[in-house]
Subunit: 248 residues, 2 copies
């Protein structure tokens, strides 16, 4: 049968594509993708962000967007721009409360359209925020476009690291280099007494990075403000932030 990577082709004008994954849901992938894109834009790079989580898109809420994208004469979708970033998400096209009840073939088609039929223009980086798992969405992405490197986000406990390792394993299998692993929700400093609690344990992602020989990109603490700002559509990197958050 045919080579599944046969049709893989770059997106015209896009220099680098970065995949942000975790395997496990709810560990901070979207939060990291949004803030990575913003910090690249703050450094003067031309940046796009594709929300590939068709079933639970978070970019519309996290970036505070509630308008629909336009379509050009040539039937290309025009990405929505905010904070200097070109954005695309299924959440711009479908109402928030409407469940997307799709099987694999439709999923594959929509992801391919988001990669090929959006008018991304000239970009230094396209960040792709992946959903949990290693199924149709992830497979379609790696079979449709060349990925320059992947970043894996995890929280410190085994339950998340097991899924992070599966995600790393998938990237290995399809020869996508790993830029590194981030440990999110690494510890919590009580705002009342200043003492620390390791709510989801601590240090597991660093250990995993060392064992697997991949870069460890740093720790991000649990900061309630991150969650509040996400709900308000005001990403933390657009504010004066905790040093440890910004350094990651």
């Amino acid at each position: 049968s045919k080579n599944p990577f046969e049709d893989r082709a770059p997106i015209h004008g896009v220099k680098n594509i970065i995949a942000v994954a975790s395997g496990k849901g709810g560990v901070g992938k979207s939060t990291f993708s949004v803030n990575l894109a913003i910090s690249l834009a703050q450094q003067g790079k031309k940046v796009g962000l594709l929300d590939a989580d068709l079933f639970g898109p978070s970019v519309p809420t996290m970036m505070g967007i509630n308008k629909k994208p336009d379509v050009t004469m040539k039937n290309k979708i025009v990405p929505i721009e905010k904070f200097g970033i070109k954005l695309m998400s299924l959440g711009f096209l479908i109402p928030e409360d409407t469940p997307v009840i799709w099987r694999g073939p439709v999923v594959m088609q929509v992801i391919t359209q988001f990669l090929k039929d959006v008018d991304w223009g000239e970009l230094d980086f396209l960040v792709v925020d992946l959903p949990p798992g290693t199924g149709d969405i992830q497979l379609t992405l790696v079979q449709t476009v060349p990925i320059n490197f992947a970043i894996v986000v995890s929280t410190p406990q085994d339950i998340s690291l097991i899924d992070a390792r599966k995600s790393l394993g998938m990237f290995d299998k399809v020869n996508i280099p790993i830029f590194g692993i981030v440990e999110n929700m690494s510890y919590f400093m009580c705002p009342h007494c200043g003492k620390r609690s390791d709510i989801f344990k601590h240090g597991g992602a660093k250990d995993t990075a060392e064992k697997l020989g991949v870069n460890f990109l740093g720790e991000v603490p649990i900061v309630p403000e991150i969650c509040e700002l996400s709900d308000k559509g005001e990403p933390i990197m657009t504010k004066d932030v905790h040093q440890e958050v910004r350094s990651v």
Copy 2:
């Protein structure tokens, strides 16, 4: 074309099937499913637990299981028993670090096998722990067997509630009654100073339950012990627990 629910049929010997969903990953679905199953068993019920998260199964770790299930003469898979519960998970069959890189049709086949080809025997309740999203796994489940009711787990913030509402919307669409919504990670009591922090906000799931007219099943606080015990395969309901966790 044919009615997608045409082939739906009960599992012989299984009185009730409960779906536990959330839409969003990492909010505590598996933790809740495991502990719900244990508390039903502690009340003398015959209980099964199906880990339907093929891409990131957590039941093997959370229940501390690392052996493979047997197969009967009639080619039925024999569930593994622990804490008085019959268990099935893809994690029993595939090594932990191996990514499951499957597309929709294979996913559909495996979920159908877990429902029809496992020797569940006589059960009062089969709890199905669903993965995030509303795709192939969820569709195959509701089209293969009758679901008596669904429980939705969410954390308090909008980012999770948006996905919880999609999950509720899917169950509505296929006429599956909602037993109620649980708010997990509802608040955090600092072990050092006893003061409270609403890390992922607070009360959002209760508001959503009231707005949608569904039961609110209660709040579970963030308890670091829950995370540690999950990694060790010792579910919190098998221990002397916080009153508020047990009451939920």
